[in-house]
Symmetry: C2
Subunit: 350 residues, 2 copies
């Protein structure tokens, strides 16, 4: 595979999600990514889901496009081979990523003796070196206590692991930032990227920490509602669920048109003293909006709701818009259009 | 602020999460990131949470370290100024990121006429150009139907937005990949990054699509359990929750030691015919493991559980380990150690 990152070579000693996904992303963009594992397979070698003959679908998913080298990680000769591979010469080589403990023969100091401009990315659990996975980091952020049904007691975990995903792509970015720096200055570096720091930095970026510190409020559980604007899931007549969100003026109008809510929306605005064209207005009137939308969705199938909100662009019937076009664009009065029909000058439904 | 990306200049026309978070990350690494907005503020200008005087904490969180330029986006003169800014000369300049519709004067073709080597990142909802946010993309992945309590009917949304986070960092990575390519070849490029593609690519990487296709199974809802190994939340005596995960042999032993489960674990292995040192063994015996762990956690406070699993490294009492050291390292027999105590050669508890 060639690609935009052709010329880069990355040696990866990894397990689980963040490190292998970051490496796979670079491989998919054209880098030569060599994953090394112990001769018996790494911690994630057999991880579920597995196929009927016992091969890990999980492992396959996270390592596409890489090359694999298997070595006895306990043998001095095996370690020598990998040290040599990690520190091999070449302008785009000398890049090492790992989420295993980078100690002893894998420590930056040891490897940098063989290649002074080495770039090493070490993804760790927490800054103090303690072990963490997405699920334990997520517990620390507090998100499990604001995720899930409003009346639920206890934490609700994320199934799609947000912090592993963020760390994977941020790690890939860090490699490219360091490689740019090395190209410009000749200097390599060690990058330590803690999963926990990624999670807390993102939690801060999303305003949760600022809200707690500045406004002194503890964000409650809002179920599936999108905080600060309008969005929620609704159940359709055929037992499916649709997610309806309003993020702009245009969405308010589209929903009003689709469900025939224009008049009802005006009443909500008057009664609640809000402007539905603002995020705050929609958030403050969300109960009233839900009361309108719920029965409408419940009375229709998912396909009908989809068509109402995103009308399909089908071919028209012959002459379907004749009257609309002559009236709307040419401004012809109804009686004149009727006469043109009578005279068989124009066609289409009347 | 200086940093590893000093020398890069990025002009950003953004709203919501993915584009501004990606830009902020580059700014925090030292790039000069200039965010432009309409003179009246963008779509996310007032987004909640807000302070008591109405300033958006959300906006502040996602734009730290950037410079801001406000321009009337409808005026021809304003558009001219921004086009000139985006395409201004300079080796590290000529980079434009946006998650707004990049049409008309903001289209790549229009801007590339002024700077042929322009790099433009356009984060879109879906590949066909349709609008999406994290919440609607998440619905498409299917994750809401496998997230949340096992007995819950209906979808459970992620509160920490996984696809926005992934797209933010992947977008920042894409900018650096394109900048490397431009440095090596002189060529710029347009990058289109759909939120929906990011979500589906990550869902595939995590093995969910492979599992459905190859094994023909529909992953059910497993609540807070970590699929394919052992991990779950448990409630403590003081009403708090701890997340206990086992990802390695070492964790099995640590948990057995902390809770006195060694014998019980052996019984589980014999009864269920599993090896708890494997992921599959733990997953298949998870009900039995939970039955052991639940009462243990329920009988202790969160602090006690923490201490049991991660014994704090405190200073020892004077001579606390005298006997252990002489016996363990020097191999002295008990009667000899006793005699040394009697002779007052050594001290510490007997």
């Amino acid at each position: 595979m060639t690609g935009i990152l052709a010329g880069l070579r990355i040696v990866e000693g990894s397990a689980f999600i963040a490190a292998p996904l970051g490496g796979m992303t670079l491989a998919q963009l054209g880098a030569d990514v060599i994953r090394f594992d112990d001769i018996k397979g790494g911690l994630d070698n057999d991880r579920w889901p597995i196929t009927q003959d016992g091969r890990s679908i999980y492992w396959a998913g996270l390592n596409k496009g890489k090359r694999s080298i298997a070595v006895d990680l306990r043998s001095p000769r095996g370690r020598e081979l990998l040290s040599a591979l990690i520190t091999a010469p070449g302008e785009g080589a000398g890049i090492f990523t790992t989420n295993m403990p980078a100690r002893g023969w894998l420590a930056y100091e040891a490897l940098a003796k063989k290649r002074a401009d080495l770039i090493a990315l070490n993804i760790v659990g927490a800054r103090d070196g303690s072990a963490h996975v997405d699920y334990t980091v997520n517990a620390i952020t507090g998100f499990p206590l604001v995720t899930g049904p409003v009346d639920h007691d206890g934490p609700v975990n994320a199934v799609a692991p947000p912090w592993d995903l963020a760390t994977a792509y941020a790690g890939a970015m860090a490699i490219l930032a360091a490689e740019r720096h090395r190209r410009l200055t000749g200097q390599g570096q060690r990058i330590v990227l803690p999963l926990q720091d990624m999670a807390l930095a993102a939690t801060s970026a999303l305003g949760y920490i600022g809200e707690a510190v500045i406004n002194q409020v503890d964000r409650p559980r809002f179920g599936n509602e999108i905080f600060g604007t309008f969005g929620r899931d609704f159940k359709t007549r055929d037992g499916r669920f649709v997610m309806i969100c309003i993020f702009s003026d245009r969405h308010v109008d589209a929903l009003a048109a689709a469900g025939g809510f224009a008049e009802a929306f005006r009443k909500v605005e008057a009664t609640k003293g809000v402007d539905l064209k603002t995020d705050a207005g929609r958030w403050n009137a969300r109960a009233e909006l839900c009361a309108l939308i719920e029965p409408w969705v419940a009375a229709h199938t998912a396909a009908e709701i989809r068509t109402a909100l995103k009308p399909p662009k089908t071919a028209p019937m012959l002459g379907q818009h004749t009257d609309e076009i002559l009236s709307g664009i040419l401004g012809l009065p109804d009686h004149e259009i009727a006469k043109l029909h009578d005279d068989k000058v124009i066609g289409g439904p009347r």
